[in-house]
Every structure is written in C-alpha cells, then in structure tokens.
C-alpha cells in the first residue's frame, strides 16, 4: 500500500451502532495513528463518547450535525499541520491561551464589536502559531452556538487541534446547551487549570 493512500482521509461509519461499538471502532482506528479521521455516528451517546475518547487520546475534535447524523472530525494534536504550508501547527504548551468573556470585541459599538470579532477569528487562523486553547465564558459562549457568525473559523481552529473550551454554566444560563456546535463543555476548574499553565494568556 502506498503512503499516499494511507495518508488519505479515513472515514469510519459507525451509524446504527450502539455504545461502546463506536468507541471500540474509533480506538482500533486510532491505533494506526492517523493524522486525521472522520467518524460518523447517529446517536447522542455515541457522539459524546467518541468525542471524549478522541480528546483523551490526543485528538482535537470538531463536530458537525446534519439530519441527526454527527460527523466528528478528529485531528491528531501532535501532528497537526497546516495543509497549505506543511508547517507544524502544534498547539504546544508555549502557545498562548485566549480567554473570551464576551461575544463582541472591544467596547463602544456592539455592531462594530461583532464585525471585529469575525475579523479577529479569521486573522487568528493566519497566525504562524495557533493558540493552544480558546476559552469562552459569559456571553462568549454564543460564539460556539449553531448560529454563531464565527462558527466556521472556530471549527477550523478545533480541527487544527486548538482546544475550544466552552463554559457549561454559561451555556445553561443562556439556554444554549442544545445549540452548541463546536468545542467541549467545560467547567471553571478546567478553565483555571488551562489559564495557570505555562505560556501567555490573552484576555479579551
């Protein structure tokens, strides 16, 4: 088998399978250490379990939901590379973490703040070194919801191995839990653990 074939995107269809089959199949697939793999599941338990398994195995996860079918894109964090430049995008400990406490950028005009936030994320993707984590708290969690204007760049960040950490208490407060479209639900303890790690924290 040629290397070219091996590096092609692998898709694992786990539709119609009950737990723990999707996790077992994902585990077997990840034992081959693919750089990237897509897992398809059709129930909530399988979606959450495969996402948890991938995260605990050193993979970044982004999830798309269409007609009850969840498409989980797993990207190895250690080997995350920019496809265009071939450059490593390792989300290492030295990379900064970003803490976003609002869904707009800056104070003054809300309308302008929304435009700036969009531009912020698009530009973030262009940086030579990606942040290791983006943490969303308070109204910042709106950015990870299904109708977020910055959903595509956030999903791309997640795909490239950046941890998108979304405050669970905040999702509950804004009744957004059902609409979460990217990232992992997390708590204050995990956010603090991330903030107190080595490397800069950028608070916006």
């Amino acid at each position: 088998m040629s290397n070219e074939l091996k590096s092609k995107l692998v898709e694992l269809n786990c539709q119609g399978l009950a737990c723990p089959q999707p996790v077992i199949m994902t585990k077997k697939a990840l034992e081959q250490k693919p750089a990237e793999i897509t897992v398809l599941v059709d129930n909530l338990a399988a979606k959450e379990n495969v996402a948890k398994f991938a995260a605990s195995s050193g993979y970044g996860v982004s999830i798309e939901n269409a007609d009850g079918i969840y498409r989980l894109n797993l990207l190895a964090k250690q080997t995350a590379v920019n496809i265009a430049t071939g450059k490593e995008l390792a989300a290492d400990a030295e990379a900064p973490a970003i803490l976003l406490g609002r869904n707009t950028l800056g104070t003054g005009s809300e309308e302008l703040g929304a435009i700036l936030m969009k531009s912020f994320f698009v530009s973030l993707l262009e940086l030579p070194q990606l942040p290791r984590a983006v943490m969303l708290i308070n109204s910042g969690v709106y950015l990870a919801a299904t109708d977020s204007p910055v959903l595509p760049p956030l999903q791309e960040l997640s795909r490239r191995g950046v941890a998108i950490m979304v405050c669970g208490t905040c999702l509950d407060y804004f009744s957004l839990k059902e609409k979460l479209a990217v990232g992992e639900v997390t708590n204050m303890y995990s956010i603090l653990s991330e903030l107190t790690k080595a490397g800069n924290t950028i608070t916006l």
């Binding site: 009950a18 737990c19 723990p20 996790v23 077992i24 585990k27 129930n43 909530l44 338990a45 959450e48 379990n49 495969v50 996402a51 948890k52 398994f53 991938a54 605990s56 195995s57 405050c167 669970g168 208490t169 639900v185 997390t186 708590n187 204050m188 303890y189 995990s190």
Partner: protein, 317 residues
C-alpha cells in the same frame, strides 16, 4: 406502569405508584410481606459470577425495604441447544450460593428455552410493618450514606471494549456483594429512608428519594466512592447510553462548575446490584459508618445531606 389501573387495597403498604424497590403487603400487625423480582442478561463472562451478581441484585430490593429475605425462586431463560448444561448449572450454583449467604431458602423456579441466557430471582421477605423503609422518609438535617462504590455501568462498557481489567474485576466483586451487612447495621439506627442504586444511577435514585420525601439534596462529589479505574474509563468515553438517558431525564440537577465532566457522567451511570443510599439523622452518621465498616462494608461513605424541605432539587458540589 402509570397507565395501569391503580390498585387500592388497605393491605398494600407499598405498591407500584411510588417507584419503590419492592411491593409490601400487610399480613398482620407483626408482619409485612416484601416481594420483588428482577432478572437480566449476563454482564460478566464467568457464569458462576453472573449467577452471584444476578442473585445479589434481586435480593437487594428486600434489603432496601428494611426486610429480611426468606425464600427465593429462580427465573431463567437459556439457549438449551447453543450452550452446555454446565453453564446453566454454574449460573444456578452462583445464585444458590448468594441465596444461602442471605440466609434464605431456594424453593424452586422456572426455566424456558430462549435465544440468550437471562437469570434472576423472585424473592419473598418479611419485615415488621412499622419498620418498612421506603424512599419517602428523608428529612431535613439527615445525611446521605452510600454503601457501595459507583461505576459498574461504565466498567461493564470497558469490559466490552476489553479495557481496564482491574476496574472490571473490582466492579464484578462489588456487584456480587450482598447488601445484607449494610442492611443489618441499618436495623440498629433510626433510618428515615433507603433505596438501592440500580438502573437510574446514583442521581436518578436520589431524585426519586428527594421527590418522594419532598426535600432537596446536596451531594459532595469528592466524597462519593468510585470503583477503581471508573473515572479513567468515563474520561475515555466508555459510557453506556443509559447514563446519557438518565442525564437527559435529570436535567434539573445542578452541578458546581468545579465538578469534572467524567465525574458528572459517573453520577448518572446505571448501576447493577449497587449499594444502598441511606438517609439518617446527621448525628448518627459517624456511628453508622463505623459499624458498617466493622461489618465488612468497607467503602461506606457519607456523600451528602438533606438541605431542607423542597421539591426534589439536587445540587452537586
């Protein structure tokens, strides 16, 4: 069950309407009859161990009502053509060992041919009518004691994934353990409410207790005993679908933001042959725990309290 016509009989002390562990029927002023039945498919590979677990699980409902089991009957389905008779014998021997350990008598049973094995017991027990324990008596000022570690559902999922063998073995031992010893200690204490932890998970059964007792509860997540490797297995996503169904049903439970997600998942994890959740006055807790440990119930722990009168709200800190 709610769609069935309600049964009104003055002698029926506990029926199907309160989601309790077993039915209780008043025989006379001194004696109430406790009846329960449970059976399920194998959850471990060893047939003898499966028999022990299924029997311990069935007997548990009698202990949870404050009773003493007297007699038990086997209920069995078995693929007669596919599996050897030795397997069936091993299952029944495991069950009989637990029935004997419970001080009860095996009086018969029934087996039918079916595609997969299923085993359990119909158990009959007795208690003094005034000493029947239900899930409805918890009072403000009570503390909550749990007598077995949680995580059997997650570790059963790990077994099927061929992971965490140590945790899986510990879960099997825990499931095979009778709740008899905890129940015997309970008889010496002014216990207000009791239930056993099974399919609805710790928080599901706690919610039933809270709503039946019209109180609110608080749990200390760090005090809840976990089976070895259960936290790691949950972190890896080896979580049964039933845990997510329980979480969905129990949306009203509030978690402090410092409670890690894998621990939250474990609190919804469906248990097989789980421990007793006991509500008793706060001042009695340390004495109870001491005696329970002396009786061999080593993991017994105080995991929460009844915070006040209420509507079944649960907070996990």
């Amino acid at each position: 069950m709610a769609k069935l016509p309600q049964i009104h009989d003055p002698r029926l002390l506990v029926g199907i309407d309160t989601a309790d562990d077993a039915g209780v029927y008043l025989l006379n002023e001194e004696t109430a009859l406790i009846q329960t039945l449970d059976f399920f498919t194998p959850i471990v590979d060893d047939p003898y161990l499966f028999g022990q677990i299924a029997a311990a699980n069935s007997l548990s409902d009698v202990y949870a009502m404050g009773g003493k089991p007297l007699t038990a009957m086997n209920i069995v389905t078995f693929p007669v053509c596919k599996l050897s008779a030795e397997v069936l014998l091993a299952i029944l021997s495991g069950g009989q060992q637990k029935i004997a350990e419970a001080g009860a008598v095996m009086v018969g049973g029934h087996t039918i041919d079916d595609d997969e094995p299923k085993y359990g017991l119909s158990v009959t027990g007795v208690a003094h009518p005034a000493k029947i324990l239900t899930n409805a008596g918890a009072r403000p000022g009570d503390v909550l004691v749990l007598t077995k570690a949680i995580g059997t559902g997650v570790l059963y999922t790990a077994l099927r994934a061929e992971l965490f063998p140590q945790g899986v073995a510990a879960a099997a031992q825990s499931m095979a353990q009778l709740n008899r010893y905890a129940a015997e200690v309970m008889a010496h204490y002014p216990v207000h409410a009791c239930t056993d932890i099974t399919g609805f998970g710790l928080l599901g059964h706690a919610y039933e207790m809270a709503s039946a007792s019209e109180v609110d509860l608080e749990f200390d997540s760090r005090a809840i005993p976990l089976l070895p490797e259960a936290a790691e297995a949950a972190e890896m996503g080896l979580i049964p679908a039933g845990a997510y169904a329980n979480r969905e049903y129990l949306k009203s439970v509030e978690f402090h933001s410092a409670v890690p997600v894998n621990l939250q998942d474990l609190l919804f994890d469906p248990q097989t042959s789980g421990g007793l959740l006991i509500s008793l006055p706060g001042c009695e807790a340390s004495g109870f725990l001491q005696q329970a440990r002396a009786a061999g119930v080593l993991v017994a722990a105080c995991i929460g309290s009844v915070t006040g009168k209420g509507t079944g709200k649960i907070h996990v800190k």
